[in-house]
Symmetry: C2
Subunit: 506 residues, 2 copies
């Protein structure tokens, strides 16, 4: 890596001197000095920036891998902070807050944080599933305080007595509860989906899809090439034209075009990826120019787009979709059906709603105020992420991440307030707790064949859009690396990407 | 990598010149020139060798990743060669033979080759499971001929009619059958082992052990530190003092000492790895000095050795062992029990034996002659690897590998014989088929804490032994890399080892 980078710099240097020579020969005497004096600082500036970036990464990785010694346990007067969930909101909060201020317990049936943006890359081994998982046992050691992790599913919350009931009928007391359990796939009651589709939500979904993909490809080698039976088996339908669905379809298509076509071209010829979307276009969070670019790119790479198609039912290996314009019903056979749309309420969330019937009356999610406090339990319960429903806060990693960061600051301020005797100071501190203000940083989506579309908002005025080029892919890669929550994950993902170039995907 | 290697060379160069300067100042005038002229060729020789090695690897990897186009299928008069199994013997044969000479079909329920020597490293993620698996679909594309892979379990063989019966009642005809289905774990009828122990034989065993290990470690965090209940849960017993058992125990101990101790020192303090062996020492294939070194090293690192201990029964989470000297019975509690000893006969092997009752009368394995032909079906069935029983041929990867190489040559000669009309030529060619001559290249075993014992036989006279040092570990690593069947695997394993140094094991 370093050697090749040095080579690049040397070439750059050479070009620079060539350029300055050429300039010297044609331009008046004053000009070249000026030009060269611009290029030189750019070159050395870049070198410095690259060195600084690598140094920063190495330092970050070192710090992460060398946790501070565990604090000696003493009788604690700290308030009990219980965090339900190990997703984006919970883990961002945990990483942002001074963990020594509270007696923190994290409760979740899932012992890892999952870097969901790259989940669609995992079934085809563009990245390893292990590279996008981060153990909670290591994450809780990143701060200076002791954090307890309970790998149990929360079954119920009692807001009156401030208790969480977990599996095994155990009660965990809290002073402050952060409810961020996420959502589960939603099949909208469409018959047969739950029984016949795969999902793209948890790490294990990637493992299951990978196994199914391999199984079908192997089974297909035993069927006559070009036969309908084989084509049906190799038909893969992704339902949902959001980023998850599009990236899943794009990654599957990459796998077919790059790996299957290499090792078994006849088999690749019988594969077909379909992307089914209920609306008239995919990727609604982008503007028309961008999503049109994505649609054209996907089609060019071989993905069959089916727009305005509403899923009606799934029976065995057939999904019936209705064209929302012509009302025509079409049956589509599949070997693999991936349901990549819809967020549903988890049982524990529904239970919490039922505990606060007067305020929690929206089936789509928990209602919160501008300070992320749960309506009906303000002051003691905060609700974050995909389990909530609030205008302007879409169920994305970005929102959950910003909510986690915001809440860390709020809870740190609350800690100071709790430890202040002066009422006037308390009141003025309380006023410093501003409402949560979500800043949409834009959207990114990989569209296959080393291309992506990016709509990045640097500030409320500076926005830059880039799509369809190799550069857009590199920007997408850098942005995703930046989003990862640990340097370890960044390092492993980067390694995986390099590996794909050298030995392909398995 | 390259940059750091260059640094090493520069340092070496510097040292060399320093050395020659020093020599110049003290020794008579003639000497330094001579010394320096020795060091110089060593330095440049090493540089050349390293460059050649890297170049060879890159070329190998490139060739592997760019398979020749599939041959156009024509009506084939080739003999049908059916290979049962995708283990060491089968895959070595497949990689060594000219695949265009026969109409080859590989049949196995397992769609990958597993690099078994590193399987004990996989449960603790020293290497990823994916790094030691090689898809059969890519392996069958390495030769110039078309090879068919049928992912089915062979249920029966009919030696009279030359048919293999596979799942789904399908019959596959053969002219020549290579029977190399391997073995399955053998619990020697000891009650409770099959129900309560994990094994270390297939890729999935590593996945299961990894999940169990994580589950137990997490459960233990919820029990009081130092309590008997917690210690019992964190007791891990490996039965079998052969290389697999020793390496499994060593890797588990590394994981506890390096990862668990880092992230949760209290938990690591309650972990205990036990290695149980029925004989008076472990690693019987090494000499006394070597196995004593291994035993001392394991003990020093924290592994509890229990020698002369014969497993009697397993009930729930307790194994009862009998001291073969004192006849004393001891109960040992465990959270994880790994059965790493014993090879048993697979059902299809037993079935084949029953088809040839007159010649196949040894329950320990298929009987073969010196040319690896199955007794009772000479000329049409060859049996290789762990499913056979023959004096001097132990059930190891090394034997299976050499058998595969040998058989490739035999089958190539047989092809020439079949295509020769002249009987005299046929007869003289047949005489060139020599008996299989196994050459024991020695043994290697990782013993934990970056140390190994190696007994490497370069030829029948040159043998070198190395144990206990960091160098022994590096030799072990190089030897294992050399043993891998593809450059892809070599590359991935090397990457994993580097990753462990940077971000640890997950």
């Amino acid at each position: 890596m370093f050697a090749s980078r040095m080579r690049t710099f040397n070439v750059l240097k050479q070009n620079t001197s060539l350029l300055s020579k050429r300039l010297q020969s044609t331009a008046p005497k004053v000009a070249p000095v000026k030009k060269s004096s611009i290029l030189k600082p750019i070159f050395y500036g870049s070198l410095l920036a690259a060195t600084a970036a690598v140094g920063y990464g190495v330092y970050g990785l070192y710090k992460e891998q060398h946790p501070a010694p565990l604090p000696v346990e003493t009788q604690s007067n700290k308030k009990k902070l219980v965090i339900l969930g190990t997703g984006w909101a919970s883990i961002t909060l945990l990483k942002s807050i001074d963990t020594s201020l509270y007696d923190i317990t994290v409760i979740s049936p899932r012992d890892h944080f999952l870097f969901t943006p790259l989940l669609p890359s995992a079934p085809v081994s563009t990245v390893a599933v292990e590279s996008i998982k981060e153990d909670v046992s290591t994450l809780i050691r990143q701060g200076s305080g002791k954090v307890t992790f309970l790998q149990k599913e929360a079954l119920d919350v009692d807001p009156q007595n401030k208790k969480v009931i977990v599996e095994g009928d155990k009660a965990v007391d809290y002073d402050i509860l952060v409810f961020s359990v996420g959502a589960q796939p939603n099949t909208f009651g469409i018959p047969g989906v739950y029984e016949n589709a795969l999902f793209m939500k948890e790490a294990n979904d990637a493992v299951i899809l990978k196994a199914k993909l391999k199984e079908n490809l192997q089974k297909a080698t035993e069927l006559p090439a070009g036969s309908q039976e084989r084509k049906d088996l190799l038909s893969m339908i992704v339902v949902g034209g959001g980023p998850t669905g599009v990236e899943t379809a794009a990654e599957l298509q990459d796998y077919i075009s790059e790996e299957v076509a290499k090792w078994n071209p006849e088999l690749a010829a019988d594969c077909q990826i379909h992307l089914v979307e209920g609306l008239g276009n995919i990727l609604g969070m982008f503007d028309q120019k961008m999503y049109t670019l994505a649609q054209d790119h996907l089609k060019k790479n071989g993905v069959a787009l089916k727009l305005n198609a509403m899923a009606q039912k799934v029976v065995g290996n057939t999904i019936t979709v209705k064209d929302s314009k012509t009302q025509e019903l079409v049956d589509m056979k599949f070997g693999i059906l991936i349901w990549a749309t819809g967020n549903g309420t988890r049982p524990v969330t529904a239970k919490l709603m039922s505990r606060l019937p007067e305020t929690q009356n929206n089936r789509r999610g928990l209602l919160i105020n501008q300070k992320l406090e749960l309506l009906g339990a303000e002051g003691s319960i905060y609700a974050l992420g995909d389990c909530t429903f609030h205008k302007g806060l879409v169920p994305t990693a970005q929102v959950a991440h910003q909510e986690g960061e915001y809440l860390a600051k709020v809870l740190e301020t609350r800690h100071i307030i709790d430890n202040t005797d002066n009422d006037a100071v308390k009141a003025s501190l309380a006023k410093t707790i501003k409402d949560f203000d979500y800043f949409n940083q834009g959207a990114l989506c990989y569209i296959g064949g080393e291309s992506a579309i990016n709509d990045i908002k640097m500030s409320k005025k500076i926005e830059f859009k880039l799509g369809g080029s190799f550069l857009s892919f590199k920007v997408w890669q850098c942005a995703y690396l930046a989003m990862a929550v640990t340097w370890r994950t960044r390092f492993l993902i980067a390694c995986d990407w390099i590996k794909v170039h050298i030995v392909g995907r398995q």
